[in-house]
Each structure stands twice: as structure tokens, then as C-alpha cells.
């Protein structure tokens, strides 16, 4: 058998696969006529195939389908979320709103230009805002990316974003806040917005 060319065995398998070319088939047949060893080999291969093909069809046990259905995970998770979303459109809208708003807030935090609320009697020296002695500033003062020195009086809130609040004998009627962290900044903006939003409601109550 070992003396026969290797391609003869390849042709045998091509033949068994059913994709043998006519030339190969001719060559194989010619060879098998003269070589009993290869004839035997071919027979054994065909027998092996016939042997496997004679395996009986097996079927799944009777309770199979039921068992599979029992093993499936409960379908609620995805459907549940969808249901919840459908039932609470307002919450979804609010969540979306907060998401987009915070995105813009994060964006604006990085804006590092110096700015200050315009009030008639404030003095601006470079990056420092001064409330002069003896002066009374009416309303809130917001300083962004700069410092504030209060020597006079502020009748309102003082908010410093990314800067420092310096005062000696100042009088501030409102709150003083220094914001230099992103979260504080966002928190401040959210507080401000909710105050603005709720303001009309408070008025209605009154």
C-alpha cells in the first residue's frame, strides 16, 4: 500500500466527498483495477462510512421541551425596564434634562475667562474685584476666575468661582460661597436653577 502514490488516497476521499473531477475518477478507477491493496483500502473506507450512516436516529426524551422552557431565564428584566420607562415619562424627561444640562455645565466650567457681575460701584483691578470702603453694593456679586476683596458692604450674596474671597471688616448680608471644584460648581448651578424654577411657584403661593 505504501508504494502507491499518496494522491490516490486523496482521490479516494474526493470520491467519497462526491467532489471528484472526471480525470481524478478515471485515474482512481484505473489504479484500483490493478492494485488490490488500494481496492481493499477503498472498500474499508466505504464500509466505515456505511457503518456510521447506519446509526439509528436518536430522539430527545419526551419531557425535553418542557425542561428547556423551565431553564430559560425569566424574561422580565428587559421588558420590565421598558415598562418602567413607559410608565414614568416625566422622570425620564427629567433625567434627560439633567443629563444634558450637566453636560453644558461641565463645559462652561472650563471657560476660564475672568468675569464679574456688573455693579455700578465695583472697582476692577486686573483679576481682582474690589468693593471699596464706604460703598454699598446692592444685589449679588459673582466673580469668575478672579478674586474679590470686600472692604465696603454687599447687600446680597458673594460667589467666587475659581478664586478667593478676601475680606477684613466687610459686611455681606447674603451668603458667601467659594467654588473651586467641578462638583461644587455643578451643585451651585443646579441650586440656582431650581431656585429660579421654583421662584414663580413661591410667588403664586404668596
Amino acid at each position: 500500500m505504501s508504494t502507491c502514490p499518496q494522491h490516490i488516497f486523496e482521490y479516494m476521499h474526493e470520491y467519497l466527498d462526491g467532489d471528484i473531477s472526471r480525470e481524478h475518477e478515471q485515474e482512481l478507477k484505473q489504479h484500483l483495477k490493478t492494485c488490490t491493496a488500494c481496492q481493499e483500502h477503498m472498500h474499508q473506507l466505504s464500509d466505515a462510512v456505511a457503518f456510521i450512516k447506519s446509526a439509528a436516529q436518536v430522539t430527545a426524551p419526551p419531557h425535553f421541551e418542557e425542561s428547556v422552557m423551565k431553564r430559560l431565564p425569566r424574561p422580565k428584566s428587559r421588558v420590565g425596564i421598558q415598562k418602567w420607562l413607559r410608565r414614568h415619562p416625566f422622570l425620564v424627561a427629567a433625567a434627560m434634562f439633567i443629563l444634558f444640562m450637566s453636560a453644558t455645565l461641565f463645559g462652561s466650567f472650563h471657560d476660564d475667562k475672568f468675569s464679574v457681575t456688573k455693579q455700578p460701584n465695583l472697582i476692577v483691578e486686573g483679576q481682582t474685584v474690589i468693593v471699596p470702603k464706604g460703598e454699598v453694593v446692592k444685589g449679588d456679586v459673582v466673580v469668575k476666575n478672579g478674586d474679590i476683596v470686600v472692604e465696603g458692604e454687599v447687600d446680597g450674596n458673594v460667589i467666587v468661582i475659581n478664586g478667593e474671597y478676601m475680606a477684613s471688616s466687610a459686611v455681606v448680608t447674603g451668603q458667601i460661597e467659594e467654588i473651586d471644584q467641578m462638583f461644587e460648581w455643578v451643585w451651585y448651578e443646579v441650586k440656582r436653577m431650581s431656585k429660579d424654577l421654583l421662584a414663580p411657584l413661591d410667588k403664586e403661593k404668596n
Binding site: 486523496e10 476521499h13 467519497l16 466527498d17 467532489d19 483500502h41 474499508q44 473506507l45 464500509d47 466505515a48 462510512v49 457503518f51 456510521i52 450512516k53 447506519s54 446509526a55 439509528a56 436516529q57 436518536v58 430522539t59 430527545a60 426524551p61 425535553f64 421541551e65 425542561s67 428547556v68 422552557m69 431553564r71 430559560l72 431565564p73 424574561p75 428587559r78 421588558v79
Partner: protein
């Protein structure tokens, strides 16, 4: 059948779990058969075939509806079978082959002075013997031989199921046939 299967798949994806029962019903025997022939053991075959359906259910959204569902399903099942064969779990079945013994199973470990394993093979019923010979094939060849001659898949389908090039599938089938021929002529 394809149209029905596609309809059921859509229903399952919309959340109708019961529609999956029809899919199981349609493919259960084919899938069980692959697993049984691959693993040579009824309990394992049932377990793995069920697992294959569960995985198909969980991953149904990844199925490409342009393709043949059976190919996708068979692929899940054959992969699970191959995994199972490779890391033979610690729980033993009596007719599971013992590693490194080429065809010996746990029965041959039970004290038995009446017959040698070869004689046992001779005395097996014909159908048992077929399964015995399939189980003796190395896993690489067993998979292609089972798909080709028991499930009657085309070479192209086998190549898709196993995600192997057509040439590799052919080579494995050729070697599988040779291995089988050798096994059958040992006795």
C-alpha cells in the same frame, strides 16, 4: 419551516417567551442527536442540548436573520460539546472514555475477569458499537464525522457551523474516515 422559525424568533425578541417552545420543538431531536453522538452519554447529551437552547434564547438578538438558524444553533451545541469533551468534568459516567486509554471506559475499571475490553466490544449490540466507535474518534474528527454522516450536513454547512475553512473541514473528514477505518479493522 424557515418562515415559521423567523416569525417565532421575532416574537421571542419582542418578549414572548412561549414562542421559543416552538423553536425547541422543531430542533430538539436534531440537537439532542448531535450532543448524544458527540458525548456518547444520554444524561450529558440532554444537559448540553438543553444548555444550547438556553444559550440560543439568551443570545437570540445576536442571530443574523439572513443566515440559516439551524447552522447557528448547531454551532452553539457543537461548541458546548467540544468544551465538555475537553475539560472532562469530575463527575464520571461509567461509559465515558478514560483519558489516555484509547477506548477504555469506566466499565473496564470495574473488577471483571470475564472478558477483555475487545471482547466486550465484539459482544456489544450493533448500535452500541457504532456509538462506541464514534466516541473513540478524537474530538476534532468526531465533530465533522457526526455532522457529515449523522446530521447529513453539507461540507459548506459544516464549515459555517465550526467556523473553519472548507479545506480544513475536508482534511478532517478525510482523516476522520481513515481513523474510523483503522478502528474498525483492529479487531
Amino acid at each position: 419551516m424557515d418562515a415559521l422559525v423567523k416569525k417565532r424568533i421575532k416574537q421571542v425578541l419582542k418578549g414572548d417567551q412561549n414562542a421559543f417552545a416552538d423553536i425547541v420543538s422543531l430542533y430538539q431531536h436534531k440537537l439532542y442527536q448531535i450532543c448524544y453522538r458527540m458525548l456518547g452519554n444520554k444524561q450529558e447529551a440532554e444537559d448540553i442540548a438543553q444548555e444550547a437552547f438556553v444559550r440560543a434564547y439568551i443570545n437570540l438578538h445576536t442571530f443574523d436573520p439572513k443566515k440559516k438558524f439551524s447552522t447557528w444553533l448547531y454551532r452553539i451545541a457543537t461548541n458546548l460539546c467540544i468544551d465538555r469533551i475537553r475539560k472532562k468534568k469530575p463527575d464520571y459516567y461509567l461509559d465515558a472514555e478514560v483519558e489516555g486509554t484509547d477506548g477504555l471506559n469506566m466499565y473496564s475499571h470495574i473488577a471483571n475477569d470475564e472478558q477483555l475490553p475487545e471482547d466486550a466490544a465484539l459482544q456489544m449490540e450493533f448500535q452500541e458499537r457504532i456509538q462506541h466507535e464514534i466516541s473513540r474518534l478524537p474530538e476534532k474528527y468526531r465533530t465533522v464525522i457526526v455532522l457529515k454522516y449523522i446530521e447529513e450536513c453539507s461540507l459548506q454547512e459544516i464549515s459555517e457551523i465550526l467556523d473553519l475553512p472548507l479545506g480544513t473541514v475536508k482534511t478532517r473528514i478525510h482523516r476522520g474516515r481513515e481513523a474510523l477505518r483503522k478502528q474498525l479493522n483492529e479487531l
